[in-house]
Amino acid sequence: MSNPSPEPVALYVHWPFCLARCPYCDFNAHVRERLDEPRYRSAILAELAFEAARIGPRPLGSLFFGGGTPSLMSPDTVGAIIAAAKAAFPGAEEPEITLEANPTSVELGRLAGFRDAGVNRISLGIQALDDTALAFLGRKHTAEQALAALAQARSLFRRASFDLIYARPGQSVTAWRDEVRRALGFGLDHLSLYQLTIEPGTPFERAHARGEIALPDEAEQAALYAATVEEAAKAGLSPYEVSNYARPGDESRHNLAYWSYADYAGIGPGAHGRIPLAGVPTATVRIRAPEAWMEAVERRGHGVREEEALPPEARAREMLLMGLRLTRGIDPARFAARAGMPLEDALEPRALAQAIGEGWLAWTRHGALAATAAGRLRLDALLPVLVR
């Protein structure tokens, strides 16, 4: 923080379209027969200008293309957005620019194009290396394509991450270790491992309710998680967040902005942001439906649905629920500055003492409050007791 220039801002761009819906996914994703990509691109550029005008000139720390399936965009569109973002938020350092991609053949054909357009980090939605599992998850690619994608990402990008989903029905710890190991064998620097959860409103929720999907129980989930941590460590990746592993220094800068509760602007349908507006920390939300969002942007220059000024208590809770996911924890000075209240005022003293006594929370040698490995596993049970 000795840098006198203003704190960088993170920018999220949402591309809401997919070739097909995955049955476990509850993201803001839509399948459309025809897409008017130029219209979408103009709308994104308009929102970018809208946010730049009200945030003011700050350096761009990171840019993230998420979805949906942003790798369905043309490299041309991606390039135009990158150029506009860099111009709107000028800075001396090269920002981290990540794009999520799926390993289907169409998208793989575009990876080089994305790199040339300015993307410097790729995040692959591999999910599994087993054809049966991929079919169960409703993915449109095969294990062979997934492996090809990992190889190609490795050769095209210095920084590449991939996602896997575990705790699938019937998955054994041995099979999972093998799967993780094979994926890690490509030498990528970052990995996101997500436990399969049943989200409301998804086809999986209905199948689960009918008893067609039986998830591993809590003890099996814990065992799979422990195996993951071990395998990642063997490959030199350490867990820096509940579900994320990186080679030291290659943590996702963009996602760290969320977890450390830095400012981020969110543009595109349904995107969320946390930015200061007239000096007041504010939560912003965009209209969710792509068509309605585009119409709003065309009519009035932005697709904002809601803006909520966040009082210190709300900020404190958000910062705690995000910050304790990080291995490095929460720095009290930064907490006070961002939340607007001292860290000790945001916590129940008895619960804090108890959690420290049980070894779920600890003060790190850097003076931060962090969840231990055991504490991170129980964070959802701990938080309601801990926060005031």
Partner: protein, 601 residues
């Protein structure tokens, strides 16, 4: 209108099982006598409280004065006394009946006599009533008037040949009922010149008038300005107003012998107006009160605690307001290590308990935790003194106890043949002693003596479920008897939770202890710590269950778009914590305490 000669007054009540049409018949009688216009008629005029309407039961007694021009050319005053319809209010019922000379016994012609009807009709017979059987719903295809008449004769022992056949719903036969009241019931007796004696039938609190007292004048008069004396307490009050219900309140000059009506006398709380008391004139007082006065005694007790500790004062106020209107319910402050500050509350029975709880939640918008209901035990100490125990948590050290007595009831159960086996098994399982078993057609009547504490544990729900709703049940208190009772403590991580303690017969103790531990295991969610749940008698553990600690509970994906939702969820969870009770490190949800009520294995 108050100088009606005794010969032209008839005072009557209506005895009926729930749903057999008492309220509908009352409405028809009021309509036929022009008491209310059609526009003013609401369904079931007499049941005022929301709960009364919903449950189809009467909690407070009410009267209606009807004016009926009879076939003999004379105009009669018919006073209908609407009595509470449940065994919990047996004493109140007996006082309402004492205010009348006769009863209409209303029986659903498609259903027949039920247990509750039977208890009330016997009370009416005890009160010396002339009883007119009325068969209702004879327009239904399923009506079997002949069979039901035979049943009335067999079971109750009343001649039913000239039962009045009606359909209260369509109005059929209503004129015959009115004629029967005039021709078949005796007129009241009384001396207009004797010292005033009036029976206090019921009372309630009215926000504008203060306490309104329902009375039946036996001798003398009640008039405005008169100084009256309550004979049980000696309290004296000036009468502010005298009136009758038509059913609207209409003031009159005075009430004479044989008449029913109300008085107000600047009284602030119904606790000063004991049901069954005798009201007399302060200057020329009667020497002897009317017979039959009894102070009301609660038989079932439970703890009521606000879910949110901040609501304690609100609960105290609400209980105070309820007691303004219901002197039979008692409360005293108590504290529980588990539940904090609350009240020990005494009730006339289980229905009364339920009604009060429901009114607190509905009318006063209170969220409550109720502990398991307990009966009143008599503890005989080794020193020879006797104390009453209202709360299992207060049970003294067993070494100081010589013996314990528990209250018994005599229960009458009516049930179709097919389910009799189930019912007998249930009664035996609950330590019942068979007193009588008789058959009427394909229905059996079982009379059992049962310990009251076996009945407060969901007996009624079980009875209904094992008879598919066909069994009807009624009971009367039947004294105390020695019993081998033990206190079962429930321990969470080694600490006893006072609010879960209960008393049971030694023979049931282990089964109940096991059942409650199993139930708590289901109801207490996995937490950050391992939880041991135990049941013990003294220091001996009789059951144990373990709830394992949470090993993993964390959201897999949490990014920029999830924060708002996660924060709102967190706020909701915090709010939810208020509904949990903390025991050391363990949180017990409110539902766990409620489930202690439904503890049948």
């Amino acid at each position: 209108m108050t100088d009606t000669p005794l010969s032209r007054i008839r005072n009557f009540s209506i005895i009926a099982h729930i749903d057999h049409g008492k309220s509908t018949l009352a409405d028809r009688l009021i309509q036929a006598c022009g008491g209310l216009t059609d526009r003013e008629m609401k369904d079931q005029v007499l049941d005022n409280m929301e709960i009364e309407r919903e449950r189809g039961i009467t909690i407070k007694a009410q009267t209606v004065r009807l004016t009926y021009p009879a076939k003999d050319g004379q105009t009669y005053v018919l006073n209908l006394m609407d009595t509470p319809g449940h065994v919990d209010f047996a004493y109140e019922v007996s006082r309402s009946l004492a205010a009348c000379e006769g009863s209409l016994l209303v029986v659903d012609a498609s259903q027949g006599v039920e247990a509750q009807t039977l208890a009330n009709v016997y009370q009416a017979i005890d009160a010396g009533h002339e009883i007119v059987p009325v068969l209702n719903k004879i327009d239904l295809p399923a009506a079997e008037p002949d069979r039901v008449k035979a049943q009335i004769e067999d079971v109750i022992g009343l001649p039913a040949d000239d039962a009045v056949m009606i359909s209260a719903k369509t109005g059929l036969g209503i004129g015959d009922v009115l004629e029967a009241l005039v021709t078949r019931l005796p007129p009241p007796q009384g001396e207009a010149e004797a010292p005033t004696k009036a029976l206090l039938v019921d009372s309630w609190y009215d926000a504008y008038l203060g306490v309104v007292i329902l009375v039946r004048v036996k001798d003398g008069r009640l008039k405005r300005g008169q100084r009256i004396r309550f004979m049980s307490s000696g309290a004296v009050h000036p009468v502010e107003a005298v009136g009758v219900f038509t059913p609207k309140m209409v003031t009159v000059e005075s009430l004479g012998p044989g008449e029913m009506g109300y008085i107000t006398a600047g009284i602030k709380t119904v606790a000063d107006c004991n049901v069954g008391d005798t009201i007399t004139d302060d200057r020329t007082a009667a020497t002897e009160p009317l017979p039959g006065f009894k102070p009301s005694i609660p038989v079932v007790w439970c703890g009521l605690y606000p879910t949110d500790a901040d609501d304690f004062e609100k609960l105290r106020e609400s209980l105070g307001k309820l007691r303004l209107n219901d002197a039979s319910f008692h409360y005293e402050p108590e504290t529980s290590a588990a539940l904090g500050f609350g009240f020990r509350c005494g009730f006339l029975g289980l229905l009364h308990l339920e009604i009060i709880q429901e009114r607190l939640q509905r009318e006063f918008d209170l969220d409550l935790i109720a502990t398991a209901p307990s009966v009143v035990y008599r503890i005989h100490s080794t020193k020879g003194d006797v104390t009453e125990l209202h709360n299992p948590a207060d049970m003294p050290d067993p070494s100081t106890i010589d013996h314990i007595e528990e209250p018994w009831i005599k229960a009458t159960i009516f049930v179709p043949d097919d389910y009799l086996g189930n019912i007998l098994a249930l009664c035996n399982e609950r330590r019942g002693q068979q007193v009588d078993l008789t058959y009427v057609g394909n229905r059996a009547m079982a009379v059992y003596r049962l310990p009251l504490n076996e009945v407060v544990f969901d007996f009624y729900d079980r009875l209904k479920s094992i008879s598919r709703g066909y069994a009807s049940f009624d009971y009367a208190m039947d004294g105390y008897a020695d019993s081998e009772l033990v206190k079962i403590s429930i321990l969470v991580n080694g600490d006893p939770v006072d609010a879960l303690a209960f008393i049971a017969h030694r023979s049931q103790a282990e089964k109940r202890g096991r059942a409650i531990c199993e139930k708590l295991k289901e109801l207490i969610p996995k937490q950050l710590f391992k939880i041991a749940i135990q049941a013990s008698i003294g220091s001996r553990i009789i059951a144990r269950e373990t709830i394992g600690a949470l090993s993993k509970d964390v959201t897999a994906k949490c990014y920029g778009g999830d924060i708002t939702r996660k924060r709102k969820l967190l706020e909701k969870q915090k709010e939810g914590k208020k509904r949990m009770r903390q025991f050391g490190k363990v949180e017990i949800p409110q539902t766990a305490f409620l489930a202690a009520l439904k503890m049948d294995a």
